[in-house]
Subunit: 478 residues, 4 copies
Amino acid sequence: PEVVDSRRKRSQLKKDMEWHLKMLLLPRRNVSPFSHSPAASYTDSSDDETSPRDKQQKNSKGSSDFCVKNIKQAEFGRREIEIAEQEMPALMALRKRAQGEKPLAGAKIVGCTHITAQTAVLMETLGALGAQCRWAACNIYSTLNEVAAALAESGFPVFAWKGESEDDFWWCIDRCVNVEGWQPNMILDDGGDLTHWIYKKYPNMFKKIKGIVEESVTGVHRLYQLSKAGKLCVPAMNVNDSVTKQKFDNLYCCRESILDGLKRTTDMMFGGKQVVVCGYGEVGKGCCAALKAMGSIVYVTEIDPICALQACMDGFRLVKLNEVIRQVDIVITCTGNKNVVTREHLDRMKNSCIVCNMGHSNTEIDVASLRTPELTWERVRSQVDHVIWPDGKRIVLLAEGRLLNLSCSTVPTFVLSITATTQALALIELYNAPEGRYKQDVYLLPKKMGKGIPSPWPYARPQESSLPFPCCSQWTPL
Amino acid sequence: PEVVDSRRKRSQLKKDMEWHLKMLLLPRRNVSPFSHSPAASYTDSSDDETSPRDKQQKNSKGSSDFCVKNIKQAEFGRREIEIAEQEMPALMALRKRAQGEKPLAGAKIVGCTHITAQTAVLMETLGALGAQCRWAACNIYSTLNEVAAALAESGFPVFAWKGESEDDFWWCIDRCVNVEGWQPNMILDDGGDLTHWIYKKYPNMFKKIKGIVEESVTGVHRLYQLSKAGKLCVPAMNVNDSVTKQKFDNLYCCRESILDGLKRTTDMMFGGKQVVVCGYGEVGKGCCAALKAMGSIVYVTEIDPICALQACMDGFRLVKLNEVIRQVDIVITCTGNKNVVTREHLDRMKNSCIVCNMGHSNTEIDVASLRTPELTWERVRSQVDHVIWPDGKRIVLLAEGRLLNLSCSTVPTFVLSITATTQALALIELYNAPEGRYKQDVYLLPKKMGKGIPSPWPYARPQESSLPFPCCSQWTPL
Amino acid sequence: PEVVDSRRKRSQLKKDMEWHLKMLLLPRRNVSPFSHSPAASYTDSSDDETSPRDKQQKNSKGSSDFCVKNIKQAEFGRREIEIAEQEMPALMALRKRAQGEKPLAGAKIVGCTHITAQTAVLMETLGALGAQCRWAACNIYSTLNEVAAALAESGFPVFAWKGESEDDFWWCIDRCVNVEGWQPNMILDDGGDLTHWIYKKYPNMFKKIKGIVEESVTGVHRLYQLSKAGKLCVPAMNVNDSVTKQKFDNLYCCRESILDGLKRTTDMMFGGKQVVVCGYGEVGKGCCAALKAMGSIVYVTEIDPICALQACMDGFRLVKLNEVIRQVDIVITCTGNKNVVTREHLDRMKNSCIVCNMGHSNTEIDVASLRTPELTWERVRSQVDHVIWPDGKRIVLLAEGRLLNLSCSTVPTFVLSITATTQALALIELYNAPEGRYKQDVYLLPKKMGKGIPSPWPYARPQESSLPFPCCSQWTPL
Amino acid sequence: PEVVDSRRKRSQLKKDMEWHLKMLLLPRRNVSPFSHSPAASYTDSSDDETSPRDKQQKNSKGSSDFCVKNIKQAEFGRREIEIAEQEMPALMALRKRAQGEKPLAGAKIVGCTHITAQTAVLMETLGALGAQCRWAACNIYSTLNEVAAALAESGFPVFAWKGESEDDFWWCIDRCVNVEGWQPNMILDDGGDLTHWIYKKYPNMFKKIKGIVEESVTGVHRLYQLSKAGKLCVPAMNVNDSVTKQKFDNLYCCRESILDGLKRTTDMMFGGKQVVVCGYGEVGKGCCAALKAMGSIVYVTEIDPICALQACMDGFRLVKLNEVIRQVDIVITCTGNKNVVTREHLDRMKNSCIVCNMGHSNTEIDVASLRTPELTWERVRSQVDHVIWPDGKRIVLLAEGRLLNLSCSTVPTFVLSITATTQALALIELYNAPEGRYKQDVYLLPKKMGKGIPSPWPYARPQESSLPFPCCSQWTPL
């Protein structure tokens, strides 16, 4: 699931924009306590075309140290934030436990992430822990304007709106960083743009940063490159590869989103269907478990010997794709490789076979090979194309081979809450670590953190108890 | 799932209309090969306000023995029918096997059902088997105009459109029955209105009917009443209570629709959530199995001793609702009883608890008790209300307590195909049964049918083989 | 699972004896709180060869109205009974609830069943409910002498020992029935021998019986024949076909015993193995569910259309046996038919394939076809034979094709407790039913029983509660 | 599961002997194609008391370079080896693939492992790959004499018998190492005794060894100590921590052995039982999955935050042990910690609660605390004790708190085959690695091995195929 992170690589920008635009057109709901719907914005039909940069806005306390679409939407955003809080128990528990001790007192955090209700809960938690924050968006489309307004209203200097230009994008980042009399000492980044900006434009400021917390594949990759080149003069935490994030983003999330994505697009029945899942990593494991539970007969292809063995011991029939391609009703890719499903496979599929991708970017299915004159494409609904062979056979291609879980499903707030908690803990750990514990390198969050850190891990128990700390509603006190 | 069947009880009509209207407003997709979306109609934005009864239309062969919204939509409808055929393998197999022998040659079937792509596949199968058919809609809202047009175009006398008045409704039925030189000998009914009409208006015609096939609870109930009163002079088949229909409409369908309905409305994550399912009948079994597989912790309440024992042996903790009401994240009713979830329960639920009904009509949750001044209702999206207590606690009520699976999910074509196949077989059986096998009574479809009947049961195997007849794609020949 | 019931058909007697003898040789444990081990008897190595009929024994209260192997073993038997009580919660609850009201006061029950710790718990419950009982064994081998002694010691007239001759068998029955000054008014039978004896020898006594409760297939069959012939002058309850008994004896019991039987005999690993299960009735469903859960890949053969459909919707690949016979590691029969696995199938199995029967008697696998000169049989351990083909291929045949679950596994006490509770309730119901409710026919136990019956159903809840009555440890009060 | 590995620590030796002796008394079967039963030896009742060291034996080719109990038992052993081959597909495939190239040509391997049929398959595979082998037993009790005889008969210099004295033990090892004109260049060890012997006694030989492959926890620990101390002058492979071994020894093996161990000892029914599993590592995951599948209601205690989260997302209720100790039917420990179940817990358990240990050694349950005067112990069968409280409450303690899976279940051949294959690959890799790839350190087997190595991994596919290499019977060619 790196698509989002690679979004600012120049060469891919156009393509990604296209994709995002399509995503915007999906019929989405307004407000959900349970999910992150980046494109949703229920008061967005505002015909206000003025750029936020050209507006004069003040929040109710008189501050104008922010730049959002419309400060008047704050109330709507506040409600969304309150709703999101209910599905982020670990973060709320951290807020409660830690605020007495203010472990981030003195921290000046500059952040660059998607601006959503879930991010707002994170920011307000950081604030409660003692930090000062300034924030920009890491994506020009994904800001929820109402949430940005709510944050601005409660005093957070937020610089973000939906539909920024590229120039706006960098302007916003700069407004977070380049402030009279305020110098950040911590970075929370998602994609590496903020880090890059400070590194390039404000090298002296960069040297004084105490720590960087980075979430995305792309950003982490950049950090490792810096580190390799000997230019990373700041310790950094790689949140992306933490066990919790990996399990949630892949296994637990996909176990649910494969069903959701297939149902929303095709309304098919799973029971009795034959399915082949290509790849038995965490994503594949989630897909297989879900479909098996719904009564599908699931085959697995896998080349990694250990994953293959796991598939086998989990009761799935291991096959070559060719062996079953003629008989299956659904083909799902989650290998991380390219062209796992080729035109030859597509030619041999049976009528009305469904093909979709849960794995990497949009490369697993060779969709390009289907753009030939003898095949007819029919868009039957959003995200669903019928590709029709001369003899009338149709295959049902979902999301044009892009990620089904991102295109046709939603990411639950609870999943996002795991990442947000890990980010908060990484900030606490880096900010409080004694001199010398972390060198100028990229680290994973340790299981046990420094003494005196209020909550050493999102789900850790207090020493005296055998019960894990609230990680989900199971432990919500009655 | 009787809601649909009770639709014509005068007293409920208003309420149901309201409900149907709301259902129409759900964002639906255009065409799906896999589901029945009664409200979908992608060319419906026609501004043509003329009543079909006032139009002069001819199909391409010159016939005008039909009455539909717009014969020109036939092509769109044809495509939907073709797509539906792909998820109705048993019916298509029956069509193939049986057409050589024309077991319905001479049958004159008058039908009254929802007019959908799935019905069209049934009608064209009946035609292929030798029958002549005339058809009306059993519901004033549910007709897919394009499908009706496609049927009319290929020569079926169809009298149905979306948005009939009650007068239209009976006019359409009468046009099917009251034809110069054509007298029906078989009835296929869904709700009992057609049967009632013939019984009342054309008693002589009624006596000559060879058999009635009825699908709905309401219609079956009426037949039993007639039979009890000694007025049923025709053998009838109760399709509603066939094992296959019961299993599919309840266990298999709900196993999928509970997840779908919850996801589409709330986008919540299932993993780690605590759920109480009230009732462990077929519907409850489906809900429990699905949620358990998604990693929820599921509690069951049940008063029937045998179902309770099954829940217990299936690994679910049996509880009283009161014991767990404070701790659960989701409450699902599927008991078939009234007021299973009371105001007192609702008062005790925790913040952001989700409450929904998968059971009977809209009676299981005492929604009326929530319409009191101290509680605030907030509609947060279609089918989702937040009910807010004075202290700020919210519960999330789905579909206002109506059936989640009908309101917020779809019925897969495959499920409908099971019923349609059973209907076809019932017609074949009754039409071909030797004199005296069936008396003037209501019957269930026998497992073994009369000799000479081409396919004795939708899934039966040929004598010489140990492989069941195609009941789903598993057996579709490659 | 009718093998036991057919045991007294003359033609089969020899064969069955052989089988029972072999069963006796299985290494069994002494005492288990959780299972019925008919052959276990830890003090049996007594060299006392005197027939119990020739002994003079008295219990500690001076009574000699019994005939058991050795009254001195009573203490050992008492311990077994106490242990069994712990896994029979429903019966113990019935005992507790009902004893105040003595619903069996005045009942004179003559019984003929296996004499085990579980039966003893039943008998003592009947006694607590007010009944007088006299008891004989329904099988010449299965009596646990210590338990018989314990019952005799506490005052029950028991006539049974392990290793009765056929003459002993009928003598014991007669001693129960033919008593000076005591005339039975209820019969509890398992196999129909007791009923037959009274019917033939004491026709006047038979007419005065208020009710018969029969557990076995054979016994029920005999009752239906009597009824058909117009000779059944007493209402009878068919316990064998009660839903609870069917579910427990088949689905729930086999779900566990298939794993247990295979492990104890072969110690094989289930994960990753390919298995074909022939038949998807209750037994097949249990086997499939268990093996799937252990990571086996399971195929199903089935000819009944509805069961086939269930297999399909439960996610099992439906096949013809021929299609998979070459590739599977295990073949399990549970069809109830004859020669499901033929010599031809056996010839085609791969080396070291395991073949076993969970279904009916010993007819499903054509074992006779393996007794040909070119095949070598090797007994590798108790209940396990290797049959070796000329080319060295071996198949592993378990229990010579007899029932794996009876031969190589045990029946948990909890399963037996279900039947025993049903028997007790049937006796209560028949004894208390108002004149005329039950005619001279064979009945199933009704879900709701007569008013005034203390506990209307083993798992029924009191009217005022939504919690089921204790059916297993879940509800045992802490 | 380290018990076996710690066996030669002087301080534990007595205790372990006791344990092994008890294990010998378990009723075991003779030969199984599917499991490793270390104590089984069907011709052992030989009254031959002469020490093998004092015997003069020759195999049929005239060699006497071996020392086994009785060379005449070779035929029986050969059969066991042939049977084991059938459950070791990966090793057999390796043998087939690799023998053309003889990747171990020139290797002189000295080995010290359990001498079982499974080891024999490994040794004969190493021979087929070109190696010369000499072998001793790593345990004084576990040798299967027949297998040792079969190996000796086919020309392997084997020095091992069941019931060696400690002096014998070292004598056997020395006879493998100290040979005129033959010097080992590879070590395959299980426990580190062989390595230690060579290191201490033959330091010059030690320096010339090309590689050590070690399987056990103890042996690996010793290697790391050597390495730390700078004294390990040979590269070593740690097989114990390979992913495949870990998964099989823990997750997959325990998923089956928990059920097997409980059934064999108690014959209890799992359905509907309440179980608490302490610890959700690989062993706990296996136990939970199995019991959930059998219809138990499973609670989990866990202090590791990530494992706790996994339990939660897998649908298990996380609890403190105290919360549920009064209500559960079974308590299973698999934490790896000490005194997880204390006397206080034991005091609060309900009557007939079962307590057992699947985790570490015999420390998890505080069994010592039960040896107090007021409690009565009753041995009810082998490996099953009832501990009885003054008020009559009994708890059922299995295997006196030692490992249930080792004491009361068996280890399937397939599980052992995974380890054996990994050992073979490790030998191939170390023997063929170019100079300098492996330093004087302890390594894990790499996923990709050196070019030219015939089969780089037990389950790896050839480059050109998407099908994994045979890892189990699924891929056995028909």
